[in-house]
Amino acid sequence: MSCKFCVFSTLPLLFVLTTAAIATDDIHVVPGPNAAEELQEALITAEPGSTISLAEGTFNLSDGLSLDVPDVTVRGAGMGRTVLSFGDQKAGGEGFLITSDNITLEDFAVLNARGDGIKSKGADQISYRRIRVEWTGGPNEKNGAYGIYPVESKNVLVEDSVVRGASDAGIYVGQSENIVVRNSTAEYNVAGIEIENSKFADVYGNTVTRNTGGILVFDLPNLPVMGGHSVRVFKNRVIDNDTPNFAPEGNIVGMVAKGTGIMVMANRNVHVFDNVLKNNGTVHVLIATYPNEFDDDNYVPHPRGVLVRDNTYGEGGAEPDGEVGKIISDVTGKPVPDIVWDGVVPLTEWLSWTAAEDRIYINETDGTTFANLLMIQNTLYPWSTSPDRDIADYAGALPEPKEVALPQLQGQ
C-alpha cells in the first residue's frame, strides 16, 4: 500500500521536472501573426545553453532581430524550409544581429533584409552552418551590403552556406581573427567572399561564381583593426564571375572589375593555392596596392608575402572590365595574363630591395601567364617600361600559416 503510494506521488513530480527541463532548454517558435514578437522575445529571454527552434514556414518580420544571450543555438528546419523574410522591414541595419559569444546558427534562410543579412559583432565563437542569405530579386544596388557578416569577431565558422545578391560581399569577414569559411556557395554578389582587415583565415572548398569578383583579401586604412595577415585561400572553384558591378557608388568594392577571380590588396602572408579559376573575364588572380589616398601612419597599403601556387587556370582575361581592367590591359594587352601584380612597393624598397618574406612568389605549372605591371616605372617612364612577364623570376616559397583551429570544431 505504502509502496504504491510512493510510485503515484513521484510520477507527477518526474513529469513536472521533465517538462520544466524542456521548457528552459528548447524554445519552439512557429510562424503566425504573433511570430515576430514571439521570436524576438525568445531571443531576449533565452537562457544560456538553450536552443531556439524555428518551425518550417515563413516568418514575416518588419524589424531587425537581435540576440545578445551567450551560448545559444538558433536552428531552423532547413535553409529551404524556414525563412525569415524581411521584405517589409522598417528599421534595423541588418536582418539579424548577434552580439554574444558561442552562438550557432543553423538551417534557416534570411531573405531580402534592407541592410545586411546576418551580422555578428564582437562575438567569440560564432558558427553559421547551412544558412542561406539571399536577395531574391537578383543583383540590384538596392540590395543589402553584406549577406553573412561577422565583424570584430573571433573564432568564426561559415560552412555549407549560400549567399546570393549582396550589393557588397556575400560572405564578408571583417576585423576578425581565426576564421574558417568553407564549402559554401557565393553567387550573384558584387564580391563573393571577402576577408578584410583580418588575420588567420582559411577559405576553402567554396564555389564562388557569377559574382563581379570572386574572393577578395583586403586591408583598408583608418580602421581600429588593421594589418590583416596569414590568410589561406585554397581548393575553391572560382568560375564564371561575370556579373556587372552593382555596388552602390563610393564603396571600395565598386572598383572591383567584372571578372576578377581572386584579389589580394594590401595584407601580409597570403597563400593562394589549389584553386580552380575559369572564365574570369578581367583577371584570375590580382595582387594590388590600395589605390586611394589615405591619412593613416599605421597603414601599409602594399601586399607583402604573397604566394600563388598550384592553381588550375581555364580561359580568362579576354574581356577586361572597367577602370581596373583598362589599366591592366593597357599595359599587358589582351587576354590579360592569369596572374597580375601591380608591382608597387614602398619607395624605400623600390630604391633598394624587398626582404625575402615580403616578396611576391608565383609557382605555377608551365603555360600559366603572369605580368608584373611595374606601375611605378610605368608611371615615371611610360615610354620605356614594359611589364615583367618572366614568371620564373618569382619562383620561391613562403612558410605557410598553420591550419586555423576553431574551438567549436574541436572533437568533430
Partner: protein, 350 residues
Amino acid sequence: MIVRALLATALWLTALSHAWADTVDDAALMASKPARMLSEYGLFIDLRNQVPNVGVLPYDLVTPLFTDYASKLRFVYVPGGKSARYSQREVFEFPVGTVLIKTFAYPSHLDRPDEQIRLIETRLLIRQENGWKAWPYVWNEEMTDARLKIAGKRMSISFARADGSQLDIDYAVPNANQCKGCHALNGEITPVGPNARNLNRDYDYGGAVKNQIKMWSDLELLKNAPDASELQRATDWSDRNEPIDERARSYLDVNCAHCHRKEGPASNSGLFLTAWEEDRTAWGYRKRPVAAGRGSGGLDFDIEPGNAERSILLYRMRSSDPAIMMPELGRSLVHEEAVEMLAEWINGLN
C-alpha cells in the same frame, strides 16, 4: 562600545533604507525578472502626470538625443545612502540600485508642449549587481499604467509641427536588445546621457532654480564633483550664439558617439564622433566609408570639407531608409533643424 556604535549605525541605516523602501520599491528594482507593470516599482506618486516619488529627481540635458521630436521626461533615483561617482568625461558611475527613467511623450502640437500630452513609453535603466538592465514599458491608452514590452512595439502617433503640418509616424519602442544597440560600451549596457558636460545647466526644481550638478552634489546623489564654475559644459546645439564648430561637435557627440566611438557598437566603422576626438580623419574629415553599403550614397567622404552635399554624414541623416539612415534606431523622421546646422558647419570647413 564599538559593537554598540556599529549596532546604532546599522539601525540607522536600516531605518533609512526603510524610509526609502516605503516609497520606491528597491526589491522590485533588484529582482532578476523585471516587473510586468511600471507602477510596481513605485517610482511615481502620480503616474499619469509623471509626478516622481520621494528620492526620484527630475533632470534635463543641455543637448538631448533626437527621437522623432518626442518630449522626454528624465528622472534619476539613487538608493538612500549611496551616491554616484563623478567623472569628467564619461557618464557618472552610478551605484547598484540606481534607476535612470526616461518617459517619451508627444503633445498633440509641438508648439504647445504642455498640452494634451500622450505618454508613449517609459524606459528604465536599472543598475543591478551584474550590470545595467534596460526595460521598455509601453503606456496604455488611458495612461493609467505602462506594461513591459520586452520585444518592443510599433505604434502610430500623430502630432502637429510648429508650422501646423500634421505628422503621422510609425513610432518604434525598442526591444531590450535594441536598447543596447545604443547603450553599450565594450559590450556592456551603459547609460548615455547623464555626464558632467551635458548635465551642467540650471534646472527649475519647482520654483528653485539650481545648477543640476550642484543640486546632485547637495543631495549627495553625486560625490567628488568640482565646483560648477570649474566644470566643462556641452554646447547647446540649437543656440545660435554659440560657435558653429562646438554646436556641431556637441550634436554629433550626443546623437552619434554612443555608437561611434572606439568602445561603442560602431567601432568597426572607424568613425569616432565623441566631442573630444582630435584625429580629424576619425571624426570624418575626408574619411572614406568602410562597410557603408548603400549608406555611402556614391559619395567619397563622411565629411567633405566645404561641401555638405557631398558628405556621407548628411546623406545618411537625411534618409529614412533602414539601409541608409543614421542613427539606425530611434527615429523615423529627419531632424531637419540639425541637418541644416550641420550643413552650415561642413560648408564652413576647409
